[in-house]
Amino acid sequence: MKKKTFIGIAVTITLLSLTWVLLTPVLLPVNRGGSEVTAPHEGFFAPNFTLETPQAETIKLSELRRQPVLVFLWASWCSVCKATMPGLQAVYEDYAQRGFEILAVNLTFQDTLSTAQAYFQSQGFTYPMLIDEDGSVAALYQIHALPTSVLIGPDGKIIDVVIGSGMREGFLRVELNDILSAKEE
C-alpha cells in the first residue's frame, strides 16, 4: 500500500469513528422511552407481584418501595436453597429494623405446600414465606434455576440477580451496607 493511501484511509476511519461517537447521543439516545420498563434484570424496575402467605396475609411488592427487598425464590426440594436460608435469617435479624425485607417466594407449583411450610416453620424463619401457586412469579422473574435471589433497592430498581448459591450471608451484608448507607446519606 502506498504511504499516501494508508494515511488517507487511516484519517478517514478515525474521522468517521469520531463523528459516530459524537453523533451517538443524538442518533441513539439512551433515555428514549422504556425507562419505566420492568424486567427481572439488574438496572430495571422489579416486576410487581401480589402473593399470599400461608396465613392468608397478602403482600404486594410495590408497597415495599423506599426499602431494600430481597426476593428469594426457593423450593423445599432444593438443597442449595435450604443451605442459604439460615444465612438470610441472620442478616434479616440484623437489618430488619433498618427497613430490610425478605420475601421467600416458594415455587409452590413445583413443590408440596405442606412440606415447604413444615420446613419453613421448623427452621423458625421470621421473614414471610409467600406461595406462588400458579408459577406466575416464577414466569415473571424468568426463573431458570433455584435458588434465585433478586435484590431490589429502595427505588424499586433491581441491584443484583444471583442465580445459585452466591447470595451468601456476607455478600448480602456488604450489599445492604452499600444500599443503606447511600439511602441514609
Binding site: 478515525t14 461517537v21 451517538t24 422504556g34 455478600f171
Partner: protein
C-alpha cells in the same frame, strides 16, 4: 436467554462456561499460530496460565480486602466457588501484571508474542459478548428493526450479537490474511496484533452506540473513547512501523560451501561486502554434510552479520543471485559452491512465502550456533527469547563435528 445450562443435577452458569471455552479454543489456536511463527509456545502458555490463576485469586482477595468483615466472619468464603464475590478490575490488573512479569522473566519478545496471541484476543472478545448474551447483560436499545430480539420485555438491538459477528468476521479476516495462520503477511513483528486491535476498537466504537446498558460520562460512552484512543494509536504505530522505520537493520547470514569451501566463502564475503556493511564475521567451521554423513563431503560454514535497510524480499533476491553467480544449481544437492541463508532479520519474526524468519535451522544445527555464538555471545532468538547458549544446548541430534579453522579477522571487521 440461557443463563444456566442444566446437565443432570448440575446447573452450570452458561456465561462462565462460554468464557472458559473461548479461552480454551483461543489458547489452542494460539498454539497453532505460535508453532507456525516459532515463538515460545510453551512459555506463552505458562505465563497465560500463571496470569489466569493469579487473576482469579486476586479477584477474590481484592473483594475480601474491600469487605474484610465477610472474611472475618467466615474465612471459608475465600474458597467459595460462587462468581459473585469477585473484584473483577483488581483481578484483571493483577492477572495482566503477573503475565507481564513472567513474560519478562522468560525474555519473551513482546511483539512476536502478541502476534502469536492474536487468536486469544479475538476469541476472548467474542466469548465475552456471547457470555453477555447468555446473561442478558449489555442489552441494546429498543428497536423496530426486523432483527431485533425480545430481551427484558422489549424488542431490542441484539448488540452482543453485533459485536460477536464483527469479531468473528475479524477472525475470518485474520485466517484469510495469514492463509490459515501460516503466513504473517507483514514483514514486521506486531503488525498483525495492531490490525486486530484496530478491528476490535472499530467494533467497540460501532456497537456500543446501540447498547442501553451503559454508564455515560458527560453524555459519551467511555468505552467508545477508549476505542478511539486504541484505534488512533494502533494506526499510528502501524504507519510508523511500515513507513518510518528505515534505519539500517542488523541481519545474520549463514554461509556454507562444500566445493572449494575456503576460497568460495572468502569470495562470497567480499561479494557481500560490495553491497552491504559487514559488522561481524565468524571464523570458518569445518563440518560434515548433515544430509549424508559421508567423509568426502566436508562443509565449511560461517556466520556474518551485515547491516542494511534493504527490505527482506530484495535482500533474499540479492543473496539468490550471488548463489547463482557462484554456479549453484538447484538440482545438485551434492555439490554446493555457496549457500547463503538469512538467519535473522533485525528482531522481526515473520513468515514470507513459506520462509520463516528467524531461520528454522538456527535452532537445529551446531554449524550455525557455534559461529553465531562466536560473533554474538549475547544473541537471543527474536522469536523465543532464548540465549544462544540455551539454543545450542537444546540441539541434541546434531553431532558436534567441528574444527575451527583459520581465525579470520575475528570480531569487528572495520
Amino acid at each position: 436467554m440461557f443463563p444456566v445450562i442444566d446437565i443432570g443435577p448440575f446447573a452450570i452458569q452458561a456465561a462462565g462456561l462460554i468464557l472458559i471455552l473461548s479461552l480454551w479454543i483461543g489458547i489452542w489456536l494460539m498454539g497453532m499460530f505460535s508453532n507456525a511463527l516459532r515463538t515460545n509456545t510453551e512459555k506463552i502458555e505458562s505465563s497465560l496460565l500463571v496470569g489466569l490463576i493469579a487473576g482469579i485469586i486476586s479477584a477474590r482477595l481484592g473483594f475480601l480486602l474491600q469487605n474484610p468483615t465477610i472474611f472475618l466472619e467466615n474465612p471459608l468464603t475465600l474458597f467459595s466457588l460462587t462468581p459473585s464475590m469477585l473484584n473483577v478490575s483488581f483481578g484483571l490488573l493483577v492477572g495482566f501484571l503477573t503475565m507481564l512479569i513472567y513474560a519478562q522473566k522468560w525474555h519473551l519478545p513482546f511483539l512476536p508474542t502478541m502476534d502469536a496471541c492474536t487468536p486469544i484476543i479475538i476469541l476472548l472478545f467474542a466469548g465475552f459478548h456471547l457470555a453477555q448474551f447468555a446473561n442478558g447483560d449489555g442489552y441494546g436499545l429498543p428497536t423496530d428493526l426486523p432483527w431485533g430480539i425480545s430481551l427484558w420485555n422489549q424488542i431490542r438491538h441484539p448488540t452482543q450479537i453485533y459485536a460477536l459477528i464483527l469479531a468473528l468476521t475479524l477472525f475470518i479476516g485474520l485466517l484469510v490474511l495469514t492463509k490459515g495462520l501460516k503466513e504473517t503477511h507483514s514483514l514486521k513483528s506486531g503488525i498483525l496484533f495492531l490490525w486486530v486491535m484496530t478491528g476490535l476498537a472499530l467494533t467497540t466504537i460501532f456497537t456500543r452506540s446501540f447498547v442501553k446498558d451503559k454508564t455515560l460520562i458527560a453524555g459519551i460512552d467511555p468505552l467508545q473513547v477508549i476505542g478511539i484512543f486504541i484505534l488512533v494509536s494502533s494506526l499510528f504505530i502501524i504507519y510508523h512501523k511500515i513507513y518510518k522505520e528505515n534505519y539500517p537493520i542488523s541481519i545474520m547470514i549463514s554461509l556454507g560451501s562444500n566445493k572449494n569451501p575456503i576460497e568460495n566463502l572468502s569470495n562470497a564475503v567480499s561479494k557481500l561486502e560490495d553491497a552491504y556493511r559487514i559488522r561481524r564475521q565468524s571464523s570458518l567451521y569445518k563440518t560434515q554434510n548433515v544430509i549424508n554423513n559421508s567423509d568426502s563431503d566436508v562443509f565449511c560454514n560461517q556466520v556474518i552479520e551485515i547491516e542494511t535497510n534493504q527490505l527482506y524480499p530484495h535482500l533474499r533476491e540479492n543473496l539468490k543471485s550471488i548463489e547463482c553467480e557462484f554456479g549453484r544449481e538447484k538440482e545438485n544437492k551434492q555439490q554446493i559452491p555457496i549457500d547463503l541463508d538469512i538467519l535473522t532479520y533485525g528482531q522481526d519474526v515473520f513468515i514470507h512465502n513459506g520462509k520463516h524468519i528467524p531461520h528454522p535451522n538456527l535452532i537445529k544445527y551446531h554449524y550455525i550456533t557455534e559461529p553465531l555464538a562466536e560473533i554474538a555471545p549475547d544473541f537471543r532468538h527474536p522469536g523465543t527469547g532464548k540465549t544462544i547458549g540455551e539454543i545450542s544446548s537444546e540441539i541434541t541430534n546434531d553431532p558436534q563435528v567441528f574444527e575451527k579453522i583459520n581465525e579470520v579477522k575475528n570480531g569487528n571487521k572495520r
